[in-house]
């Protein structure tokens, strides 16, 4: 069996747990939840806000608005250290628990909304990629002049171990996902809609298949369970047989990829006029009662863990996302964002650090890399500080899936060093 079939355990902890809502006492909403410049706060301390009210306005080309995820009084607008490298402005709101919504303006129905209405509603709702990348969705929906796509893929692979948020969404709200896909197809003029789901979720596949039975142009695509099947490049190749050319975007392979959660959010934004203020997040690992929670954006990890019976004493590590790509949090005062699909706690044993040893050229990293790179070689380029050679060897092609580090018997920090090198390169590019 391929070493990346069914990696790690973890999904059985929560895949049978129905989604339950958590009403937070306080939310701390970061303004930098999406890729691109942080939004500019437009509320003040002491002000009362309604749920869904815009509290920060978009900044720059990749900007998105931020909305209040509860109704209540603004407690503070101040910089806080979240999961980003530098502190960012966060807006704290005391929840009055009345869930008093602003007036919502639906753009149209699934059948009637025009492409312009859809794209505008998605932007107004502040939707960004909810699978982790957090790229502003309305930009993906606006296909550049001279390019076209023929396939829209909804990513329901959820190939990360432990995470079951998308799985539960596909089981519990298949209709919202499919309506979102129909809107995406209308907005982009794409004829083929594909919902790709790993075969380890047969119930989700069945639930979606039942729901798409009479819809033309939409199919459910069962995927082999093999990490990193949910990486954009892998999905496009598996579904369309085409590859994204090196250094290019999915649109250059005439494909668009959205997370299933994003699709459901698009449906809510267009048909209900609802901004993105809540999402399903798997809270799992070393917690007393792991589960899938419907969290208001800005819910702190403290509150999320408290709703899962609290954290045992021996928890050593906490990260956002799955264990293959997740970002570590040094404490639990940080908040979940629009892109937080999981919050995982690991105990001392699971968080054990390994000492890096010499590369033995076993070639496991080479044979496992989904992109065809030579991770050991990239690492040696980086050790020599030869980033030009690293680029030649595909540093920018790496999808940071973590497979090479996972398999490395010498426990070398491969993915982490690639990430650091890329950050160094982009920092250099900015200085110029």
């Amino acid at each position: 069996m391929h070493p990346l079939r069914h990696i790690g355990e973890g999904k059985p902890l929560t895949n049978a747990c129905p989604v339950r809502p958590l009403i937070p006492d306080v939310v701390v909403i970061p303004t930098g939840m999406h890729l691109g410049a942080p939004s500019a706060p437009c509320v003040e301390k002491g002000q009362h806000v309604k749920m869904g009210e815009m509290i920060a306005t978009p900044v720059g080309g990749l900007g998105l608005p931020v909305h209040a995820s509860v109704s209540g009084e603004v407690l503070f607008v101040e910089p806080r250290q979240e999961l980003r490298a530098a502190p960012e402005i966060c807006i704290g709101i005391q929840n009055d628990k009345l869930d008093e919504w602003v007036e919502l303006h639906p753009a149209g129905s699934v059948e009637s909304a025009t492409p312009e209405q859809i794209i505008s509603a998605v932007k107004t709702a502040g939707i960004c990629g909810m699978g982790g990348a957090s790229f502003p969705t309305h930009i993906k929906l606006s296909i550049p002049e001279g390019k076209s796509a023929d396939t829209a893929i909804l990513n329901g692979a959820e190939c990360e171990p432990y995470l079951t948020a998308d799985h539960r969404l596909m089981l519990e709200s298949p209709q919202r996902i499919i309506d979102g896909l129909r809107l995406i197809m209308r907005a982009t003029g794409v004829g083929r809609g594909v919902i790709a789901v790993e075969k380890n979720k047969p119930d989700a596949i069945r639930s979606l298949q039942d729901a798409v039975k009479n819809i033309e142009g939409i199919e459910v695509f069962p995927l082999t369970t093999k990490y990193p099947q949910g990486s954009e490049k892998q999905l496009i190749h598996v579904v369309t047989g085409r590859e994204v050319p090196r250094g290019k975007l999915p649109i250059d392979a005439r494909a668009l990829v959205f997370n299933v959660s994003t699709s459901a959010a698009i449906c809510d934004a267009v048909t209900l006029g609802k901004p993105l203020v809540e999402r399903i997040t798997t809270v799992t690992g070393c917690v007393r009662e792991p589960g899938n929670l419907l969290l208001r954006v800005g819910t702190t990890y403290d509150q999320a863990f408290a709703a899962c019976g609290g954290l045992p004493e021996n928890v050593k590590k906490v990260f956002a996302g799955g264990p293959m790509t997740g970002l570590c949090a040094s404490d639990t005062s940080v908040s979940m964002t629009k892109a937080t699909n999981g919050i995982v706690a690991f105990d001392e044993d699971q968080a054990k650090e390994f000492e890096e040893t010499a590369c033995i050229r076993c070639a496991r990293c080479v044979n496992i890399c989904p992109i065809g790179l030579y991770p050991y070689l990239l690492r040696s380029d980086i050790d020599k500080n030869d980033l030009d050679s690293a680029k030649k060897h595909g540093l920018m092609d790496c999808v940071l899936c973590g497979a090479c580090s996972y398999i490395c018997p010498a426990r070398r920090y491969l993915t982490a060093s690639f990430k650091a090198a890329r950050e160094e390169l982009s920092a250099k590019a900015k200085r110029r």
Partner: protein, 314 residues
């Protein structure tokens, strides 16, 4: 709310496959055990003496070198143990202690540590050591009385040497050659023991089948083309031991499947050439060493295509 608590922060991924370098080395050691036991059974305590001296001195040299040059001590990765066993398996049970010590020093100090330690040596340490010993003390490794017969320890030459000299025809039954009732190096004679080790390595996925199978197949094919008897060829000498335990050394073999096939095919061809036309009766050592040296070239020639790379119009 809970009190603030600082957690460990590290880069993803946060989970790892179970195998570590030491686990892989332990797999190889386990796989070598049938061969070690067969060697001691066939050649007696003299063989055990060679193995003990070889392993202790290999580990010792590695430890001493690392202490002397203030490098991190890595003997617990077990790679020196593997080198020690493989070196011993490549020596006759009559090898004097000083010869083993020199072999270990060449393997660990000259070939492994001087080039940067585990992973940076460009040829297999045990094989290079054997090559040095063979060139320096030919009488002790390929002379007409370097080897002994199993059980009764009568001095003799190896069947391949006898064949090469044309003085007599080697006459061993299939059973003798399979279980190792024939003169030879400690580890090369018992084919059954080697095959048991191969099975273990394949089941544990420590190695893939590509190198051992291709090398033996290529050797048999070319031996047949050169007019020899392929089956007897495999059952005599160290081709099987070399194909399973030495050609498969991660550090010195190519990385991709295509590369492995070229490498193993080449090793089989060179070995068949040496046996058929060369001056030495046996050529496993040189065949694998030559392909070790060619490995960087093979790796470059068989580079995988990067996803999204446009095929060059050559």
């Amino acid at each position: 709310m809970e009190t603030k608590k600082r957690f460990a922060v590290s880069g993803a991924p946060h989970i790892h496959a179970k195998d570590t370098t030491a686990v892989l080395m332990l797999d190889v050691i386990t796989a070598l055990m049938p061969t070690v036991i067969a060697g001691i059974w066939l050649f007696g305590w003299n063989a055990a003496r060679v193995i003990v001296i070889s392993v202790v001195s290999c580990v010792g040299f590695e430890f001493l070198w690392e202490v002397l040059f203030k490098r991190p001590i890595t003997v617990n990765d077990l790679s020196a143990v593997v080198t020690g066993i493989i070196l011993a398996m490549n020596l006759p049970s009559t090898a004097p202690w000083w010869l083993i010590l020199i072999g270990s020093a060449v393997a660990i100090v000259l070939v492994k540590q001087l080039f940067g330690g585990l992973g940076d040596n460009f040829v297999n340490p045990a094989l290079a050591a054997r090559a040095v010993l063979l060139a320096s003390w030919p009488a002790l490794l390929s002379g007409s009385s370097a080897y002994v017969t199993p059980f009764d320890a009568v001095s003799t030459a190896t069947p391949l040497a006898t064949l090469a000299e044309g003085t007599a025809t080697a006459n061993y039954s299939m059973i003798d050659m399979l279980i190792g009732r024939m003169p030879g190096c400690i580890g090369e004679v018992s084919k059954i023991a080697i095959l048991l080790g191969l099975a273990y390595l394949l089941i544990r996925k420590t190695i893939s089948w590509h190198i051992p199978v291709t090398m033996v197949a290529s050797f048999m094919l070319f031996t047949w083309l050169f007019g020899g008897d392929p089956l007897t060829g495999v059952l005599m000498g160290s081709v099987l031991f070399g194909a399973v335990f030495m050609a498969t050394d991660y550090v010195t073999c190519p990385m991709t499947v295509t590369g492995k096939l070229i490498y193993a095919g080449g090793a089989g061809l060179i070995l068949a050439l040496i046996r058929a036309y060369g001056g030495y009766p046996e050529g496993t050592t040189y065949a694998i060493l030559l392909m070790n040296v060619a490995t960087p070239l093979i790796d470059r020639a068989t580079r995988r295509r990067i996803y999204g790379e446009v095929k060059s119009r050559a």
